[in-house]
Symmetry: C2
Subunit: 291 residues, 2 copies
């Protein structure tokens, strides 16, 4: 099994070289084993794998939670940062992959346009407030990267405001990592055509029409500008926590690859259930003596 983080990692050419997103095919499936392993239906195979890995993730999460309960001062947590164009599949990925874990240990936060109160603070203020506590797996559905993406593309702030944010983000993430949080940043990469198909299927399905917003078409009209903004952000902010670009046209591959990224992240933490700090036998005797 290849290391998915190495396969999908970007930004290794340095902060001044924008990531070439056009060189990454959204339809591709890097790391996926051949038919010898998957059989004739890779999609079915991947779904089974996601379930199997999901159970492993649930165990890892429980160990993390146990450690956060017993030794909160270690500050150990995991943070998954998800970014994508509209219809990129963030919600689906969270549902399928994070959904395998115990909801008690998840700390999920979706970031929309900042509220008036949030706008009166530094852009990282609301991000800091939403960080996962020790022992939790946090998921950011959009994130502080919107402040160098939509803000840049839609001109919500001048360049003199958003450009210095690359450095602020790197500093912020450096401190986060140093204080015990394992950060996994993933851009779900879909094609312009795939977005159209998904938007159309939202319009066609009465149970999905609520997800469609006419503003989405304004963002779509600025596709190239967004890709350019992503290209620079991914390169400039892969310092303490590198970015991964995950080809996401195929939903089953997306879930499979994301599950692997999380599994590898957990593996680095070398988690185990904490040893009890009390005398187990003495407690057992107390309980057994008690009618």
């Amino acid at each position: 099994m290849p290391d998915m983080r190495s396969l999908l990692r970007v930004g290794s050419e340095g902060p001044d070289v924008p990531v070439d997103l056009t060189a990454i095919d959204p339809q591709s499936t890097p790391g996926l084993p051949g038919r010898k392993v998957t059989g004739s239906d890779p999609k079915l195979w991947a779904r089974g794998e996601v379930e199997r890995i999901g159970a492993e993730l649930a165990t890892q999460q429980e160990m993390l939670f146990a450690q956060g309960t017993v030794e909160p001062e270690l500050g150990r947590s995991v943070l998954l940062v998800l970014q994508a164009m509209d219809c990129g599949g963030k919600d689906g990925a969270v549902k399928r992959v994070a959904g395998a874990m115990n909801p008690l240990g998840l700390h999920i936060k979706a970031f929309g346009p900042p509220t008036p109160e949030e706008r009166r603070h530094d852009f990282l203020w609301r991000i800091r407030k939403a960080l996962p506590p020790a022992g939790y797996v946090g998921v950011f559905n959009r994130s502080h990267y919107e402040d160098v993406l939509v803000v840049r593309v839609m001109g919500l702030a001048p360049e003199s405001v958003w450009r210095p944010r690359y450095k602020k983000i790197n500093d912020f993430e450096r401190r986060l990592v140093d204080s015990g949080t394992a950060v996994v940043k993933v851009m779900l990469h879909i094609s312009h055509d795939e977005q159209r198909e998904r938007l159309l299927s939202r319009l066609d399905d009465p149970t999905k029409q609520w997800k469609f917003n006419p503003d989405d078409l304004e963002a779509r009209a600025r596709w190239d500008d967004y890709q350019e903004a992503y290209a620079e952000a991914l390169a400039r902010c892969s310092d303490a926590a590198p970015w991964h670009v995950l080809p996401a046209n195929r939903k089953w591959y997306r879930d499979w690859a994301l599950a692997h990224l999380l599994r590898e992240t957990f593996a680095d933490l070398k988690l185990s259930y904490p040893k009890p700090e009390y005398d187990v036998d003495a407690q057992r005797r107390r309980l057994e003596a008690d009618g």
Copy 2:
């Protein structure tokens, strides 16, 4: 199918008559259909039902979320308040029943002993901060009821402080319900013996020892005082949002009954997917025109 909320509801004899918990057998399974329906293995049957109802809950939750997205001003949300003695099964119930829903739409909060900051505020301050936003399903793992339970039993505040809280809780819950939140309050009711078995099995299992805290035995030593405190709280605070006592010695029954309580709560909301406020055809034409 009987209405589980009616079956499990308590407090109908008035706020001055403590709920007689000794009259409710923690081993019982009210509302469970007979063998004609369940077959020879009610446990297996109930697990299947929980899965089936879980899928329904997931759909209901999505409709609630859709409504919260499109019409947040309606303030519609669901709040499940779970209370129990240690090992009562709150975590397991959340994992099994809330775990069926999309984690994106869950707002789970576990309340431990108040922090120094929280202690400097009114006891409802941290509760208000943790309420589910419109469109979300909130779960309180412990709650403001601890302020009339552990606080009373362990003497953390004098009666002149905790007794007026019954009224404050009723007023608070009344406003909550009036503003659009469907509140379901459930006490998971286990027996003294069952708690011992579960505590022992925590001590015996290296993957569970972290959940055991020697302090749990202090609380256990005050079992009768806790039951008395529950008896009064359940009776006095079933005003705007009634309490349900769910016999919880059998985990499979607990999950099954809880799934039903949630399903009935959702049914009252008569949810549906919101109709789009934009012109679907016009948006489709815009998209199709766009290469």
